[in-house]
């Protein structure tokens, strides 16, 4: 079980709700394997969302782990008529936000001019790594909510309507956050756009 990869993005958001409700019921009944399936399915998205908030991968994993365990304790409160993913991701988002508030404030490193103002196309592994670093830095400059919105929308495949309850904001605000995040990222990654 532990060696299985986490569910690919976009697919997680489309897992049949009935299936998950049954898994939750079994987990609440004490079947840890059922909870394990849920953890496997959502580990990837939970860790990515936490990392979008926290930046640091270790902190993100701690937050995602806390959220998973918190969800386990609260499974009895889950409404099986609603999709499981948004319910869990709301816990993840809150855990990451709380951790970010608790931890000592880290200085946001200014973007490297060389990274933002152009550079080689990401044809090689090193270049792709540089691109990832550039994206992480670009994300770090966005407001927290905007970061989560664009990751949930463009990476994880959730709709605006599904993201709204996760972030606790109206659907129109989600739309706006995604739009502004994309615009900002597009500006910062203009050189990559030309290459990609």
């Amino acid at each position: 079980m532990a060696d299985l990869p986490s569910q690919p993005a976009q697919e997680v958001a489309r897992i049949p709700q009935q299936d998950e409700a049954e898994l939750v019921a079994r987990a609440v009944a004490g079947e840890r394997a059922a909870f394990g399936v849920l953890v496997e399915r959502y580990a990837g998205v939970a860790r990515r969302v936490a990392r979008a908030v926290l930046g640091n991968p270790e902190d993100a994993d701690d937050a995602a782990q806390d959220a998973m365990l918190s969800a386990l304790v609260k499974l009895g409160q889950y409404d099986a008529r609603r999709p499981f993913g948004p319910w869990l991701l709301r816990i993840v988002a809150n855990a990451a936000t709380d951790r970010r508030r608790r931890r000592s404030v880290r200085r946001v490193e200014p973007l490297d001019v060389g990274l933002t103002a152009g550079g080689p196309r990401p044809d090689t592994t090193a270049q792709r790594r540089a691109l990832s670093e550039r994206l992480r830095q670009a994300l770090a400059q966005l407001p927290e909510r905007r970061r989560m919105a664009v990751v949930l929308f463009d990476v994880e495949g959730y709709s605006h309507a599904e993201i709204a309850p996760i972030l606790g904001i109206p659907e129109g605000t989600v739309r706006s956050e995604v739009f502004h995040a994309r615009r900002r990222l597009r500006v910062l990654l203009a050189d990559w756009k030309e290459g990609g």
């Binding site: 079980m1 979008a52 365990l69 009895g76 709709s159 990559w192």
Partner: protein, 113 residues
């Protein structure tokens, strides 16, 4: 990456792929194993426990409500407080409650005489 439109409801695959790579946490198996190891130490409230907690709350609420209801019903059905029976000296010393009546009685007695 396409130019985003304000009301574009479609995900941007290129941006999504790049972001996914940038946020890739790696080693999903180790993370899952770590969570599951800790999950074994977590006490999960079962349905019975949840119901029991609600039942305890319900019983406590019922007790409070029944006490309040008993108090209100008792107040509504109870008569006025029992009057203290006056002693002979109280009656003799106390001024008449209705002095006019006494005068009428005296006048009628005197009038008859």
């Amino acid at each position: 990456m396409k130019d985003p439109l304000p009301f574009d409801h479609r995900a941007d695959p290129a941006l999504g792929k790049a972001l996914r790579e940038a946020l890739d946490p790696g080693d999903a198996g180790a993370f899952t194993a770590r969570v599951m190891a800790l999950a074994g130490q977590v006490r999960v409230p079962s349905w019975d426990a949840v119901l029991a907690r609600w039942a305890r709350t319900g019983v406590a609420a019922a007790v409070v409500v029944s006490l309040a209801a008993g108090y209100l019903v008792g107040r509504a059905t109870a008569g006025p407080p029992a009057a203290v029976r006056p002693t002979v000296s109280d009656v003799l010393i106390a001024p008449p409650a209705h002095p006019g009546e006494v005068e009428v009685v005296l006048a009628s007695v005197i009038g008859n005489n």
